[in-house]
């Protein structure tokens, strides 16, 4: 009766709760009327995701998620929302929305099916290259992997960031011609 593993049970419970929270937060993102609230919901969602990452032995990634994603990217989002704003839009159901929801629900169902049915069912296996269980998802592990086997992609990613920076600077330098107001 008390044979179950307490640790595992806690772990499972926490994982489930955090996952559900993440889902609820994402629902909040899409259903809110004001964009600021959507951004806040998104931040919450990202924190939940970071917690999940921690639960799955990816410490470094969790940290990066908080620092980069929830920290820098979302702040950027908030700045833009503050700059441009956006009215509160009330979500009302309409035909095209229903169609979209139907399609996406189908996609969801298919994804579930693919998880359980047939050849797409996930295979549990072991690849013992630098197994996670040994070193965990620490920064050292990431570093070892990143700079040895995935060096090229690392360099390319940095090049990508450079290009993005340059692009931003170019874009922001465009002089803009005011567009006539079409609707007020």
């Amino acid at each position: 009766m008390f044979e179950f593993d307490f640790f595992e049970l806690t772990r499972a419970t926490v994982t489930t709760v955090v996952g559900l929270t993440a889902v609820l937060a994402s629902l909040g993102v899409i259903l809110c009327s004001s964009p600021i609230y959507c951004a806040l919901y998104l931040i919450g969602h990202m924190i939940c995701l970071a917690l999940l990452f921690l639960l799955y032995n990816a410490e470094f990634i969790a940290a990066v998620q908080i620092i980069v994603y929830a920290g820098a990217v979302m702040i950027l989002f908030l700045f833009i929302i503050a700059l441009l704003g956006g009215k509160k839009e009330i979500q009302e159901p309409s035909t095209e929305r229903s169609i979209a929801i139907v399609f996406v629900a189908t996609m969801l169902g298919e994804l579930f099916l693919s998880a359980t049915v047939g050849p797409t069912k996930p295979v549990e296996g072991e690849f013992d290259i630098q197994t996670v269980a040994e070193v965990g998802g620490s920064a050292k592990a990431i570093g070892l992997e990143l700079f040895s086997r995935h060096l090229v992609s690392f360099e390319l990613a940095s090049a990508l960031l450079l290009v993005a920076t340059v692009g931003i600077i170019c874009l922001s330098k465009f002089s803009y011609i005011p567009v006539r107001r079409r609707m007020k």
């Binding site: 889902v23 994402s26 990816a58 979209a100 994804l111 990431i142 079409r182």
Partner: protein, 99 residues
Amino acid sequence: MGHQFVLLISATIFCVGAVGFLIRKNPLVMFMSVELMLNSVNFLLIGYSSFQNSMDGQIFALMIMTVAAAEVVVGLAIILTIFRTRHDMDVDHINTLKG
């Protein structure tokens, strides 16, 4: 059972993000739902990296985060450029590519 859980959560968040992209009019919220989708994929990768006992998933998730960051930056700049001079944040009204 961890498999199913990861898959479920990831699929759900992805579809929520897709719905959000299709439903909302505000371009910023649309962009945020794109972020949702990316995050769901990240989660899937991390989960499976732990199941497979390999670091590849985490590295890939790192790359995705990098790309997402760059993409957000550029996308927001574009949105800024387009919508700075208008007063309505409605994506349906930018249809000069019609036809």
